[in-house]
């Protein structure tokens, strides 16, 4: 169930004053089951890119393959593709509309033509996956807290049992605890199922903590595509395109500049604490 983009270009409003080349010759392959992060400044083409993954917008030029098949071929079922590649937009809770949470989550499977009991079964399963408390199933989604609304909305996509889950800034606007809860839940989901997860985020700290691969977008092109450690080692270049590395990366580099023999690789607080302790121990031994 891999996704492959070959020389994809996308131009908004071609041949008008507002023409904008949003994607430039994008080539990338995401094998099934990967946990991928996409970062890039606002307007770098991240959102345009992910909308190509389920055919919401069609490349001006180039090809998108899902599971080896060209999605632009005549007769290819985009409806089927969209039920396999689930997209969770920014602020998905704005799309909640039903009278109860359960009904709202049933909407997707309903549209897939499933029977009532099957819809409900999948909806409950999805709500459970995102850690949504059962006692609120019959509540109006509008009476929930921000974090719960977000969970309900994500469940609405999961209920369609996608093979690929794409989340566009799923934690925007949530408090720190809500942010950690949602991301932990997504990480658990990724490890429990064989789902591919693609996470778009502006938080380098979050990205560093969860994903195994980072794709950096800049001006419609792929700037880096590597493991978090390798990507964040280019922190100066990331800054020049409006991004940054996690705060700990800067701390490690600053320590090294001051002459402390410490690795600059850590990208999470845990790793940084370990590296600093280790370096201090080593030095003390030398002194002894």
């Amino acid at each position: 169930m891999s996704i492959k983009l070959e020389h994809v270009n996308y131009i908004y409003s071609p041949e008008t004053a507002y023409e904008k080349h949003a994607l430039r010759d994008i080539c990338l392959e995401i094998p099934h089951g990967q946990f991928v992060g996409i970062i890039g400044h606002t307007g770098s083409g991240k959102s345009t890119l992910i909308q190509h993954l389920n055919g919401l917008i069609k490349a001006t030029d180039g090809t998108v393959y899902y599971d080896g098949k060209n999605i632009y071929d005549e007769g290819y079922s985009l409806k089927e593709l969209r039920s396999q590649v689930g997209l969770v937009f920014q602020y998905p809770e704005h799309q909640l509309f039903e009278v109860s949470v359960l009904k709202d989550v049933c909407f997707g499977p309903h549209n897939q033509g499933l029977s009532e009991p099957e819809c409900e079964k999948r909806a409950k399963e999805a709500l459970e996956l995102v850690g949504f408390p059962e006692k609120y199933y019959d509540q109006s989604p509008f009476d929930l807290s921000g974090g719960q609304k977000r969970r309900a909305a994500i469940a609405g996509v999961l209920a369609m049992r996608p093979k690929v889950l794409v989340l566009d800034e799923p934690t925007a606007g949530l408090d720190p605890k809500g942010r950690d809860d949602i991301l932990d839940q997504i990480a658990r989901l990724h490890s429990q199922t064989d789902m591919t997860v693609i996470l778009v985020s502006h938080s380098m700290e979050d990205i560093a903590k969860y994903v195994e691969r980072i794709i950096v977008m800049n001006k419609g092109s792929i700037m880096f595509d590597d493991t978090p450690k390798k990507v964040f080692s280019h922190y100066r270049e990331l800054e020049s395109v409006g991004l940054a590395a996690p705060q700990v990366t800067y701390i490690m580099h600053a320590l090294k500049e001051k002459g402390m023999p410490v690795s600059t690789a850590p990208t999470t607080v845990e790793e940084a604490a370990d590296a600093i302790m280790e370096s201090l121990k080593k030095e003390n031994r030398e002194i002894l």
């Binding site: 507002y18 890039g40 400044h41 606002t42 307007g43 920014q90 602020y91 807290s145 921000g146 974090g147 800034e169 925007a172 606007g173 949530l174 408090d175 720190p176 605890k177 809500g178 942010r179 502006h202 380098m204 700290e205 409006g242 991004l243 940054a244 996690p246 705060q247 700990v248 800067y250 701390i251 600053a254 320590l255 001051k258 402390m260 607080v269 845990e270 940084a272 604490a273 600093i276 302790m277 201090l280 030095e283």
Partner: protein, 283 residues
């Protein structure tokens, strides 16, 4: 001089049934007393639903207290005759720029506020230009706002408030949708406004790093002010903040972790330089 003051401020949201009858109330603000002085930079933290936004909406009389009093620039927000003065004194910027932009062209949108205040035309143009420049959006002045990215839109929304030359600007999670650079730009634009125009800034945010330069931080929980102090005092209490569903900047978390592992590092480290100095002194 006080910019904003509250005394026993209470706000109850009313829950209504389908016929519009009140069936219950939910207390969003519970007897809050705060004092904010002119020119201060204030951070307000708190988890989703803690009452931050409700408090903010009182600051330009979008909501009026159910009990107690709120004064903005010395004016009681309950006094309808002073409503417009209150709103001109305190400008609001919300989280989602799409809900705040009304013009079809960027400069028209930014000019909307001063135009409504009856500012002379030549002066409006100057304000529009200054405001757009301060948020780094001048080159987009003749663009259509709906062609802009979320971050760019937010900067236009802030320019729109700045063009009204308020004494106080209340930003309710203005950076929630922005990338790191967009965040930096917005914050430095706000900082500049504070320095050059002595505007009081009240910043509500979920990003702890954004308020480390604040003069004072208020932490809200269940409608109450539960912590109040300088950034150093607030962020020194890592575990207490966690109880309120909050966090500390990554550098503070690392300092706390190292301290718990036995290193001699003080509480409330806020910057990378501080932490690096502390660690280097250990050797």
């Amino acid at each position: 001089m006080r910019m904003i003051q509250t005394k026993d401020l209470v706000f109850d949201y009313q829950q209504r049934d389908e016929e519009g009858k009140v069936i219950g109330t939910h207390r969003a603000i519970n007897e809050v007393d705060i004092d904010i002085y002119k020119g201060q930079f204030i951070g307000i933290l708190g988890h989703n639903g803690s009452g931050k936004s409700t408090l903010a909406k009182h600051m330009n009389a979008l909501l009026v207290p159910s009990g107690g009093t709120m004064w903005v620039d010395g004016k009681d927000t309950k006094d309808e005759d002073q409503l417009w003065d209150v709103r001109q004194a305190a400008g609001m910027v919300f989280q989602n720029p799409d809900n705040q932009i009304i013009g079809t062209v960027v400069e028209e949108d930014v000019g909307f506020g001063p135009e409504n205040l009856g500012v002379p035309t030549a002066d409006i143009w100057k304000r529009v230009e200054d405001s757009l420049k301060s948020v780094g959006m001048l080159e987009y002045r003749s663009h259509s706002p709906n062609k802009l990215s979320g971050g760019q839109k937010q900067r236009v929304a802030i320019a729109g408030v700045m063009a009204m030359r308020p004494k106080c600007i209340v930003l309710d999670e203005p950076t929630a949708m922005l990338d790191p650079n967009g965040r930096k730009e917005v914050l430095s634009a706000v900082e500049e406004l504070r320095e050059k125009e002595q505007v009081t800034v009240i910043l509500i945010t979920h990003y702890m790093e954004e308020v480390i330069g604040a003069d004072k931080i208020f932490v809200m929980d269940q409608g109450n002010i539960v912590m109040e102090g300088t950034p150093g005092e607030i962020f020194g209490q890592v575990d207490k903040l966690k109880e309120y569903r909050l966090d500390v900047p990554q550098v503070t978390r690392l300092a706390d972790k190292l301290k718990k592992r036995g290193l001699d590092i003080p509480d409330g480290i806020l910057s990378i330089e501080e932490l690096v100095d502390e660690i280097c002194q250990l050797n």
